[in-house]
Symmetry: C2
Amino acid sequence: MAKDITIGFLGCGNVGSGVWRLLEGFGADIEHRAGLRFNVKKVLVRSLTKARDIQFPDGVLTVNPDDVLNDPEIQIVVEFLGGEEPAYSLMLRALNAGKTVVTANKVAFALHWHELQKAAKTHGAGLYYEAAVCGAIPIIHSLEESLQANRIDKIYGIVNGTTNYILTRMSKNNEDYETVLRDAQQLGLAEPDPAADVEGLDAAYKLSILASLAFHGRVPFEDVYIEGITHVSAEDIRCGQELGYTLKLLAIGKRDGMNVETRVHPTFIRSDHPLANVSGSFNAVYLHGHACKEMMFLGRGAGDMPTASAIVSDLERAATTCQHKYPTFVNELNPKVALHNNTDWQCPFYIRVSAQDEPGVLSRIAKCFADECVSIAAVQQKGEQHNGRVTLVVITHIASEKAMQRAISALDSQIATLESIIRVEQE
Amino acid sequence: MAKDITIGFLGCGNVGSGVWRLLEGFGADIEHRAGLRFNVKKVLVRSLTKARDIQFPDGVLTVNPDDVLNDPEIQIVVEFLGGEEPAYSLMLRALNAGKTVVTANKVAFALHWHELQKAAKTHGAGLYYEAAVCGAIPIIHSLEESLQANRIDKIYGIVNGTTNYILTRMSKNNEDYETVLRDAQQLGLAEPDPAADVEGLDAAYKLSILASLAFHGRVPFEDVYIEGITHVSAEDIRCGQELGYTLKLLAIGKRDGMNVETRVHPTFIRSDHPLANVSGSFNAVYLHGHACKEMMFLGRGAGDMPTASAIVSDLERAATTCQHKYPTFVNELNPKVALHNNTDWQCPFYIRVSAQDEPGVLSRIAKCFADECVSIAAVQQKGEQHNGRVTLVVITHIASEKAMQRAISALDSQIATLESIIRVEQE
């Protein structure tokens, strides 16, 4: 005897349609195996008249959120609206009405996790968000239910497919950023307004969620340092490759005692690191725990069906659990153990400068670095002289971010101009 | 107020000691975050007098299984004995006494899953086995709780660290099997009697478990085709590399409708496949589902602490659930939908033969293949002539296993002798 679960959708774009199709095409299997029958009773949309791929039965579509939120039969609300509002307010209303919420919305979730979880707990409702980070990859559930016995000190994510596609193309074919971005837009791999992806915001929302779970303490989105890929040049990618590095937009979370650093920026990693081979629009999360050691999850981070895979697995879990679980954050249990946000991280740096081609210049550059205790690991002179200037690529030993920034500002532009600075992870 | 959970160990070797240390070192964190306090009351060992790294409190060690199994306070029994017996009988006794079992034992589990699960269900006890496959990697839990909404058609595992270490060394340094095996034994990466690893049995037990979960139907260990790495030569690895392939001992499970094939054998995969870069003693599982698409999990498949990470996560789950879950197998729900074991799989083949160096030989070899509808994709003549013979490497198009075997037996040894045959996955 199958158990009927009545659900409602808030929104029905690409991912929502994927979930509808997955429930339709795979529903018999789920019923046969898990004894669950999901019935989508109401779907909130913006327009009832828009042409759609899916033939919804009469009466399912609605433009009134109340039809979803006030229907006592609807037990689970799946949110596909994206963005902060009205998604957050509607999810909160659903939870306050005792309905379980399943969401794919990293923005509203990263910004309002605390309030949403509080409402969920108060009303005994479930709150599921596997699909909010890395599409089909079960990283959320693994952090919550499989890696709990670890003190995770490091988590690296390639969590944005658009930027990874762009950087992969730039790396493989030595193409320019602008060219690849245009292609990606034409292929539908980048939005017409690509800012949220290429400026690193999307990755930062996801990192805030991942780091909070990995470190068992809330890491607010506002604490994430963000730098996108808009200034990345094909030249730097090539110089890095010659040194054995691959450029990725990494979402980096590190914990050392109660110090946490979270940052999203273009990063050079060793070309033989498992993350270096994560190409195209794939996502991956690499982490290190004190017991599990190194681990990596790789998969499709976006797309209708991969994201639907995560949503429907959340639906199955929500429908079969007898008690919803919520992650605990140690700093909420005891405010004295709050995590401290560290912005002066340590790492090696890759620096490209354009310098006067004359005796003594290297020693003057090296002195700016040495004055800030930044030690140089290697220097390469690149290419030909232009207008009396040459390109120098410097790799430093591990240095403090702030010291490095001071060293850079101390460079005399008469002798050397900074062309680019890229952080390196030596993992 | 923390909840006390009294547990008992059956065995306490490498992994058991790891769990003891993890509970000791990380117990305060688990208590603080999850409100659970695990107390190990009894540990079954073979000898009370053996020197041990761990100082067990008085009265914890015992040589009598009854002290663990008959103690009504012990709620969860963790089994580290390994092998089929007495592990299976003791786990069964524990379950029949209503105790939850957590196990790292792929052998006893793969062989007796059915009986163990039946006993667990009958007595409302939990049965947890994340640590039985791929150490720290949460592949079991992901298949059960995160990828359920997928029709998984393919699962590839590098599930044995010993053989992956040997093949990686052979591939990177062009070393001989015997040399690397000896080194691996000295480094403790291979057992003094390495048969279970190098002959593929260990991988086959794990594949039987993975395929059963992935395909929602029981795949008995006996149905797994097994071929180890003892006959792998450095020459084949090198020839494959020149053709763009990397050699791995793959555990392969495929499902097509109700047909299932499961096989463990040395396999050539494209050198740019994510699995090709899984090196040393790492494990990885790669799969494809109709919704999630491609996905890969990479991590430490063995070792005391990685395996302990999986065991303790099972302990936490077992201790916090209000109702234990068990996977359902569709063929048990309805015997008419039983999976059919297919042994005539289709794949390309790599074949190395030593052939007479005279006109017409290639055409006679090609005819043996053509007679069985095996179509040749490429032929390369390798190296120099020895005793009037040359080495030919043939790559076929996709062919049936049985046709290929017939073609090989039809080769006239006067003109060509088979040196090796290696299956290729073109994924």
